[in-house]
Amino acid sequence: MQAVTLRRWGWVHKWSSLICTLFILMLCLTGLPLVFSHEIDHLTGNEIEAPAMPEGTPRAPVDRVAAKAVEAYPGLVPLYFFAEEDAPDVWYVKLDTRVDTDESASTLILSDARTAEVLGAPNIDEGFMSVMYRLHVDLYAGLAGKLFLGFMGLLLMVAIVSGVVLYAPFMRKLRFAEVRQERTARTRWLDLHNLLGIVTLVWAMAVGFTGVINTWADLIFQAWQAEQVAALQAGETRVLLAADADDAPAADGSLQTAVDRVLAAAPGMAVAMIAYPGTLRATPEHVAVILRGDTPLTSRLSQALLVDPADGAVLEAGPRPWYVTALQLSEPLHFGDYGGLPLKILWALLDILTIVVLGSGLYLWLKRGATEVRT
């Protein structure tokens, strides 16, 4: 590589790193407990669980779950129901003052799917984990904070790519993974920075870039909603179940029947989420039912169907756009929650190695100009 080219890449690496390092360090540190948030909740007793009941206990209609939730939280309206794959007896219900808020002050509660009773509200607004979460996601600054952290993530991508370019010239005289022990501390940390940087490269790129995509989630859902509404208005929807179809329960205006009709139209799928009309995930007139399959991939790549609770017609407003697919694949790849506890531990270790890369990079810059001790 030409000396001048090398200098330019060095400049790019130095400045892209310096600008984002402190923020990325903060993200790595706050992300560490977040990887284990499920386990931490479990250990600290913050986990709310549904009481055990005999197998096959019938589930309450979602309308009743919604009514009980509103009863417990007067003045609020339900926005979404979420169901987790490994907790089928629980509905997570998100409530807010209106359906079209930015959800920054929304209330999340857990309801028993069989009795419709409110089980409790996870303590997400206070405590250590809440601080970790807010610092990691939006720096307490809403969408602006998310987009800012996303930009820092993009700078990290630049730092990683330029770091890879610089790797080869630094390694010309060294074997792979060689850390020169007999030189100064700076040389040792330089070798270690290069080694750890190159071995964590793919993971850091994957987690960094999927993190950037996650910061755009709100924008992605807004775009998708606009696209669905446009398709509905243009009459470009696919009818999966006509209003007068006789192989499904007749529409009666209730949410439960609407959901049942969606499930009848999409055999083999399970409900991941129900979004009320007017929320970000639905359209102004339709309930959106987000369905998931049962394979690792289809459980992530959900299918969104729309249903009009009044007439019961089940529609699909066009296939899932590519940018939604990108977001849905970005979630597991960022959280590391798709391979059990061993994967979470590997995630944490790779995170710690990345912290060492960032810290050593900062150290190398602070100690710049320190001349090598002649050996």
Binding site: F176, R188, L192, L195, V202, T295, P342
Partner: protein, 73 residues
Amino acid sequence: MMRIWLWPVLIGVASTLGLIAGLVSEDTGDWLSWLALAAPVAIGLHGLSRCGARAQTRGGALRGAAPRRAGRS
């Protein structure tokens, strides 16, 4: 070129496969992802531990760290 990039590319490919395997398959995929992602972790931690061993001997005047196993018996 080959000498410099062989190991980084192998580890990169293993990491990529590891990240994807757990997403597309449940049991086998999980095992594959654990094994594949253990590679960068193991190499990284090994490098770190050797560096830590060296750093324990304070002071630049000391010529070279005595390896840990060279304890006088």
